[in-house]
């Protein structure tokens, strides 16, 4: 029976997942080692980590040479070469909406108070929904806007006939089309039945573009990686989840609630597992992207941070002298990160396509002979 079950899963999918998982797990392991080493060296104060919207606490913790968490966490400002730009705060507290130009204005108004970095309404009620514009949100928007601008630019070219009646011209147009064709032909049509694929192409390609730009934005020195935020990846994975369940066929739901060809007792075990599987898939999607983007960010900050840690520990000479190594290592990591940024966007799109394709699968399990035939085919493939 276990064999039966395994045979139904696409072996290709498993291969993809395991490759990306082993890659990301290696990176996460590496990152966590650096993270812990860095942490024990820095000794970040506890209050620096409790909130992202804490400018007061940040000025206090200038004793530590680098602030890894501060670089990773979401903020109420965006960093730019000309200094911090504070973003509007929007609070929804028990049915009432409060908007301020920035955190300082919110505190000055007297309607909100700061308690260990978290803002409360003056009457001590916690904020119900914090709709503030944050640095990560700005980079989500930038990712969307850049994806939109490039797509609209490409669309105008196609409308003019470039690429429609002739070959695409220019590097950007060519790259755009290569990406589009790759996503359409290899990712979407590879896993979603061909007659249904066109329905999902715009969604998955848009997701790919947006994620790729968000990932790539993280490479800019002042920018934040929006996809290194769990909220962002969870929302993106949520979209995949909704689309997957919405496009689920009878066969798909049949496999979830009433697995065919399995004795009743096994069904009692299998059905909860299958229901759990509905959620673990997008959850894995969300964590994979989040962890990969976060680990890259942490690695770069940690390695560059070693310059300052060494300066702190052994003096400026050692710090500056060793910087050659750390800068070289960071450059290599940057190249890797460019690759990973595109790879993770690709993996997210691929797995979304795989999940949707799985939900779209129509298979008639009532026919037992056919079923058996499939089983033997799978066995030969696996052998």
């Amino acid at each position: 029976m276990a064999k039966h079950y395994a045979a139904l899963a696409n072996p290709l999918v498993f291969q993809h997942v395991s490759v990306s998982q082993s890659l990301s797990s290696l990176r996460i392991a590496l990152a966590s080692i650096l993270f812990i080493v860095g942490w024990s060296l820095i000794g970040v104060p506890a209050n620096a980590t409790t909130t992202a919207y804490d400018e007061a606490a940040e000025t206090e913790e200038s004793s530590s040479p680098i602030d890894v968490m501060g670089k990773i966490a979401d903020h109420d400002y965006i960093e730019s070469p000309f200094g911090k730009v504070y973003l509007p705060r929007i609070f929804w507290v028990e049915g009432q909406l409060y908007t301020y130009a920035n955190t300082k204005k919110a505190l000055e108004s007297g309607e909100f108070i700061d308690k260990e970095g978290t803002l409360y309404r003056a009457d001590n009620t916690p904020v119900t929904i914090d709709m503030s514009i944050t640095s990560h949100l700005v980079y989500v928007w930038l990712g969307f806007i850049l994806a939109l601008l490039i797509s609209l630019w490409a669309a105008s070219r196609y409308r003019r006939g470039i690429g429609r009646t002739s070959a695409p011209k220019g590097a950007l147009h060519n790259i755009y089309e290569i990406l589009y064709l790759f996503i359409r032909d290899d990712v979407i049509q590879g896993y979603i039945p061909k007659e249904k694929a066109p329905r999902y192409t715009p969604l998955l390609f848009s997701m790919f573009m947006a994620i790729a730009f968000m990932n790539l934005f993280g490479l800019l020195p002042w920018a934040a990686t929006a996809t290194a935020d769990l909220t962002v990846t969870a929302t993106l994975a949520f979209v995949t989840f909704v689309v997957t369940q919405a496009s689920g066929t009878k066969t798909y739901w049949g496999h979830v609630f009433n697995f065919p060809g399995v004795p009743l007792l096994v069904k009692f075990i299998l059905t909860p597992v299958e229901i759990l599987g509905l959620f673990t898939k997008p959850l894995a999607l969300c964590f994979r992207l989040f962890a990969n983007m976060l680990s890259g960010k942490i690695m770069i900050i940690s390695i560059l941070g070693l310059i300052f840690i060494f300066t702190d520990l052994f003096g400026a000479t050692v710090g500056v002298g060793s910087s050659v190594i750390w800068v070289a290592l960071t450059s290599v990591l940057y190249i890797l990160k460019v690759f990973v940024a595109l790879l993770q966007a690709y993996i997210f799109t691929l797995l979304s396509a795989v999940f949707i394709g799985g939900a779209l699968e129509e298979h008639h399990h009532e026919e037992h002979d056919h079923d058996h035939e499939d089983l033997t085919k799978m066995d030969t493939v696996q052998a």
């Binding site: 812990i36 942490w39 024990s40 000794g43 970040v44 104060p45 506890a46 980590t49 409790t50 909130t51 992202a52 968490m69 990773i72 966490a73 979401d74 929007i90 929804w92 929904i129 914090d130 709709m131 503030s132 514009i133 944050t134 990560h136 949100l137 989500v140 928007w141 969307f144 994806a147 939109l148 797509s151 609209l152 490409a154 669309a155 105008s156 196609y158 409308r159 690429g163 429609r164 009646t165 089309e177 589009y180 064709l181 066109p198 192409t201 715009p202 969604l203 390609f205 848009s206 947006a210 935020d229 769990l230 909220t231 962002v232 969870a234 929302t235 993106l236 949520f238 979209v239 976060l294």
Partner: protein, 172 residues
């Protein structure tokens, strides 16, 4: 130390509802614009190009196949024509040969006939000449004899006599 790590983790793994709402709204707007304005011309444009390339390829292949067929047909026609020409030539040669043979035969026959005729006429002429000669000789002889004998001699009986003599002469 462990505490700070834990706290760091919890802040990293926190889910911000307000932020998620923003992202969802932005995502819907983003996807809306992509669906409505950005992607349709791209998808349609590329599809159009692909189909046009495919149809051109198909047309080219069909043209090639047609051309090949035409070339093959032409070759067949040429071969057929050659075969026909050869046949005609062969027939013509044969006919000519036959005609020549026939003509030769006829010419031979004609020649033979001519020779025969000539021989015949020669014989006739000879006979005629002989007859005339004989007559002349007889006349001459009669005349001569007449002159010699002058009278008394019955020319009829003498002629007979002389004829017999001449016949005897010609037989010897």
């Amino acid at each position: 130390m462990m505490m700070s790590l834990f706290l760091a983790g919890s802040s990293l793994l926190s889910f911000n509802t307000g932020f998620a709402i923003w992202i969802l709204i932005s995502l819907i707007v983003f996807l809306g614009i992509m669906y409505k304005f950005a992607l349709p011309p791209i998808i349609k444009g590329i599809e159009e190009r692909e189909t046009s390339i495919q149809s051109s390829l198909d047309a080219a292949e069909k043209a090639l196949r047609d051309a090949e067929k035409i070339a093959k047909d032409n070759e067949d026609v040429v071969r057929e024509a050659e075969r026909a020409a050869q046949k005609i030539r062969k027939e013509a040669t044969k006919e000519v040969e036959e005609f020549r043979a026939e003509r030769l035969e006829k010419a031979k026959e004609d020649a033979e006939k001519l020779i025969e005729d000539a021989k015949k006429s020669i014989d006739q002429e000879k006979q005629k000449a002989l007859n005339e000669l004989r007559k002349e000789v007889a006349d001459l002889t009669i005349e001569a004899t007449t002159r010699l004998l002058q009278k008394n001699v019955d020319s009829e009986t003498n002629r007979k006599l002389i004829d017999e003599t001449i016949n005897d002469l010609s037989k010897n």
